[in-house]
């Protein structure tokens, strides 16, 4: 029972509600939902880094790596969603593990931009590789789910359910992890690395663990995105502005609660979709304006609306 706190209960209720909603949801809504879950997963990794005092401007690296890893498997005849997403997640995690040995030595702007540099290397490699469709990318065929091969609308319904289950597990896992000693060390490293070293633990090791985690979830998000869109291409998967979107979502959500990340991702998708539809000439202006408004009026992100509400209640 000690693991059942408000956040876990809240996440579970939303999870069950969304599972039911999946069967009645309009198709466009489900599509926005899928994208929110995919981007939200990446932002979840950024949230963990942020709590450790680090911002990455390059997580499109792992997002794109996961997406391309999953998509490339379909080229050689594998279509099972479980396998594709697992491969995307794991390969991005392995990449993060190796790059982590270098990145854990950097802080602040150096950490942020070194990530960006690596992500642009991936972008460059994809653009130069004609076998992977260069700037056009390539299509990802419809996945199967442990032998079940849905058709028509059922594809998205099943994929949404699939994504929802894994996202739920990851999110609850992250929430519980943050209460452990290793999870709480985010705070310790952010506040004072010297003290952490003199208490007997390596601050760099803490950062490395967080970094690998952020790579894993970004790879997961990328693989889901590849399946949801049915297409991978460098500009919407690995370019630096994609990394920027993840940071945008993290600021929008705030780092107060793991659930907020997905609310932030959903709001981001809504703003972008509607701004693009109703104001195609100035949609970036609207996006920028909303970020400005958030920073000015809700510096702790959307989540502060909830905590404010709770305070006025009590």
């Amino acid at each position: 029972m000690r693991y059942l706190d408000k956040t876990v209960v809240g996440l579970s209720i939303v999870f069950v509600a969304l599972v039911f909603a999946d069967f009645f949801m309009a198709e466009w809504m489900r599509f926005i939902g899928l994208q929110s879950l995919a981007r939200g997963a990446v932002a979840l990794g950024l949230l963990v880094l942020w709590r450790t005092g680090l911002v990455s401007f390059g997580h499109a690296l792992y997002f794109g790596f996961g997406a391309y890893a999953a998509a490339m498997l379909t080229l050689i005849g594998y279509h099972d969603a479980f396998l594709l997403v697992f491969a995307g997640t794991l390969s991005a995690g392995v990449l993060a593990f190796f790059l982590g040995f270098l990145l854990r030595r950097y802080r602040a702007i150096f950490f942020a931009l070194l990530n960006m540099a690596f992500s642009m290397i991936l972008y460059g490699v994809i653009v130069k590789t004609e076998e992977l469709g260069s700037t056009d990318g390539f299509s990802v065929l419809t996945p199967t789910f442990l032998g079940y091969a849905p058709e028509g609308e059922a594809v998205q319904t099943t994929l949404f359910l699939f994504t929802l289950c894994f996202t739920y597990i990851i999110t609850v896992g992250v929430h519980l992890y943050m209460k452990t000693t290793l999870g709480s060390m985010s705070m310790a490293v952010r506040e004072n690395e010297i003290r952490v070293e003199y208490l007997g633990y390596s601050a760099e090791k803490v950062i490395h663990v967080k970094y690998v985690f952020s790579g894993l979830v970004a790879g997961f998000g990328g693989a889901i995105m590849a399946l949801a869109v049915g297409q991978v291409d460098p500009d919407s998967m690995a370019n630096w502005n994609v990394s920027g979107e993840f940071v945008f979502i993290t600021i929008l959500s705030g780092i107060g609660n793991v659930g907020a990340t997905f609310i932030g991702a959903f709001v981001f998708e809504l703003i972008r979709t509607y701004a693009f539809e109703y104001a195609p000439q100035i949609w970036q202006f609207i996006l920028g304006g909303s970020l400005l408004a958030i920073i000015m009026f809700l510096p702790d992100g959307i989540w502060s609306l909830f905590s404010r509400f709770r305070k006025s209640e009590g």
């Binding site: 000690r2 992890y177 209460k179 452990t180 000693t181 290793l182 999870g183 709480s184 060390m185 705070m187 310790a188 506040e191 004072n192 010297i194 003290r195 952490v196 070293e197 003199y198 208490l199 007997g200 633990y201 390596s202």
Partner: protein, 267 residues
């Protein structure tokens, strides 16, 4: 008496600057040692070398029969030497209670234990006991950055002491503390460390504090230990009076310093 720390021929140079030279010190269990010396004499350099923050240029450091030279601070901490800082190193935006919870958790957990919840009632009870011994229980829920200097110093030392180290090195525990508060603060620290039977080495500028709490003095001057003796003896040592306490006439003092400095260079 058991020897816990043995330092032999320790040297540290930064380019042409000699920060530590021929340091030979033996520390016995349960000793309380005062490290004195003017600013820049090499006191903190000595503490930094023993705790692994600075790598000595040459020499030998042995702790509990094991060579610890070149090990990083985290390993040396795990082996049993902790330290506090002249400028308190705490988790500034967290409460005093959370600071100590974190400190206990890091020093207690290893391996898979790191994935068990940080909070448990037994650990919270240990933290409250610790807060009581360092007499900062009334600040339990205050944010560390808002604490008065004396309390922040106590928190820093309390955090260094959570692992119940064999040796605790305190870097100027009373710096920045008003004269009226100094003795009260030192009483609290010394009482708590005495209960734990901790060997203490602390850097201090106030000779009244040294006289009252310390059984042995290490006096540093220009990177060298110029006196290593029981307190009463050390405080009347001519070299110590000359270069550390400075109670000679100013004129004679500078003259002798110039002479001695010249001799040291020739040697």
């Amino acid at each position: 008496m058991t020897v816990v720390l043995e330092v032999r021929d320790l040297q540290k140079t930064f380019g042409a600057v000699v920060a530590a030279k021929d340091i030979n010190v033996t520390v016995n269990e349960h000793e309380i040692i005062g490290i004195i010396g003017a600013n820049g004499a090499g006191k903190t350099t000595f503490v930094n070398m023993v705790t692994g923050y600075l790598k000595p240029t040459s020499g030998h450091i042995e702790f509990a029969g094991r060579n610890i030279m070149g090990l990083p601070p985290r390993t040396i901490t795990k082996l049993g030497i902790s330290r506090s800082f002249q400028v308190p190193q705490v988790f500034a935006s967290e409460s005093v209670f959370d600071n100590l919870m974190m400190a206990y958790a890091i020093s207690e957990e290893t391996g898979m234990g790191l994935l068990s919840p940080l909070y448990n009632d037994e650990r919270a009870a240990r933290v409250d006991g610790h807060l009581g011994r360092y007499q900062i229980a009334e600040y339990r829920n205050a944010t560390a950055s808002t604490l008065p200097q004396g309390v922040r110093k106590l928190l820093d030392i309390a955090m260094a002491a959570v692992s119940n180290p064999t040796i605790l090195m305190l870097d100027e525990p009373t710096s920045g503390i008003s004269v009226e508060e100094k003795f009260g603060l030192m009483d609290i620290i010394m009482e708590a460390l005495h209960q734990d039977k901790t060997t203490v080495l602390f850097i201090e500028h106030d000779m009244e504090i040294v006289e009252r709490y310390v059984s042995r003095v290490l006096a540093f001057y220009q990177g060298e230990v110029i006196c290593d003796a029981p307190t009463a003896e050390a405080l009347i040592d001519p070299g110590v009076r000359e270069f550390v306490i400075g109670e000679e006439y100013h004129r004679t003092r500078t003259e002798i310093a110039a002479n001695n400095g010249g001799e040291a260079d020739n040697a």
